[in-house]
């Protein structure tokens, strides 16, 4: 038998459990330079952001009756800002916020 250190083990045939929900191996929040900021007063829940987001980073919170943004995965493509029907979303520079820090140790 070969001596493979524990931390270097690879699953048999490279087959890995597929992510259900979020993919922890591919966090993309650090791709973002600008983020969409929502003004809930203006939002009419048209759901365009939920439909158009390529990464499912806008979700409807049915209890609160508002759309919720996922800062861990939003790449800042701003398609939602473009598609928003009521101008409730605005493009804002990422360094203006203290939150949304992902701070990965390694890219891969």
């Amino acid at each position: 038998m070969f001596d493979i250190p524990k931390e270097r083990e690879v699953p048999f045939a490279g087959v890995t459990p597929a992510p259900v929900g979020e993919q922890p191996m591919m966090i993309t929040g650090n791709w973002r330079t600008y983020r969409p900021v929502i003004d809930h007063e203006k939002c009419n829940l048209c759901m365009n952001c939920v439909i158009f987001c390529p990464d499912a980073c806008w979700q409807l919170n049915e209890a609160e009756e508002e759309v919720v943004w996922n800062s861990k995965y939003c790449k800042g493509c701003l398609i939602c800002v473009n598609e928003c029907t009521t101008a409730a979303l605005t493009k804002t520079y990422e360094l203006d916020f203290e939150d949304g820090v992902v701070r990965l140790e390694k890219l891969f």
């Binding site: 791709w31 990422e94 360094l95 820090v101 992902v102 990965l104 890219l107 891969f108």
Partner: protein, 202 residues
């Protein structure tokens, strides 16, 4: 084995990919003019064809032949250049740095506005902030020079030039005149050198 100065450039895929590559290439070329041993290359494992993805470019400068030419990554960068300031929130950009390193950031904000996002800032000897976007205008969105592509735009035509000026100013790793000899936008290089705000930390 002689000491190898490792410079790691953090940039973003596609939109600022060439600018990051230009910083690494220009540093190596300028050092080459000083008769030193150099290397400049893109990180091979990153995925640079995705818009905005964090990617790395590397330069190595040494007074003797570089023995570990084939290492994939700069394990212990002593200079880190950040082409897009927002990346300080997304990555541990100082990973592997020994105490006494230098950080160069493209930003119009003050050093303390950047340092608040860097919990391991005590590794730094100094931080240098330069408004490269303001000096050189927009970044060059171009695949020139990537993986063997023809560089039709030229080295250091965009925001790489002021960033290089900032690196020369903050580190003294290469001479400004040697950078000027390889960089296309010389005016931006000099302005970057002049307008860089350097703050000593330790």
């Amino acid at each position: 084995m002689a000491h190898v100065h490792e410079i790691t450039v953090w940039t973003r895929g596609v939109v600022k990919d060439k600018e990051g590559r230009d910083v690494a290439n220009a540093l190596a070329k300028a050092a080459d003019k000083e008769g030193r041993f150099t290397q400049a290359f893109d990180n091979y494992v990153d995925l640079p064809d995705r818009v905005n993805v964090p990617v790395r470019k590397y330069a190595r400068i040494s007074d003797e032949e570089i023995e570990m030419r084939y290492d994939y990554e700069n394990e212990k960068p002593e200079v880190v250049v950040v082409v897009d300031a927002t990346m300080v929130k997304g990555m541990n950009i100082l990973r592997g740095m020994n105490k006494g390193g230098v950080l160069v950031v493209n930003t119009d904000r003050k050093p303390e506005d950047i340092l608040k996002f860097i919990p391991n800032k005590d590794l730094l000897k100094a931080i240098a902030c330069v408004d490269a976007d303001g000096i050189a205008g927009t970044a060059t969105v171009d695949f020139s020079g990537s993986e063997g592509g023809v560089d039709a735009v030229g080295l250091g035509a965009g925001i790489a030039a002021p960033l290089l000026g900032a690196v020369a100013r903050a580190t003294g790793l290469v001479k400004l005149e040697n950078l000027a000899a390889v960089v296309k936008n010389k005016e931006a290089l000099y302005r970057g050198h002049e307008q860089t705000v350097v703050q000593t930390i330790n």
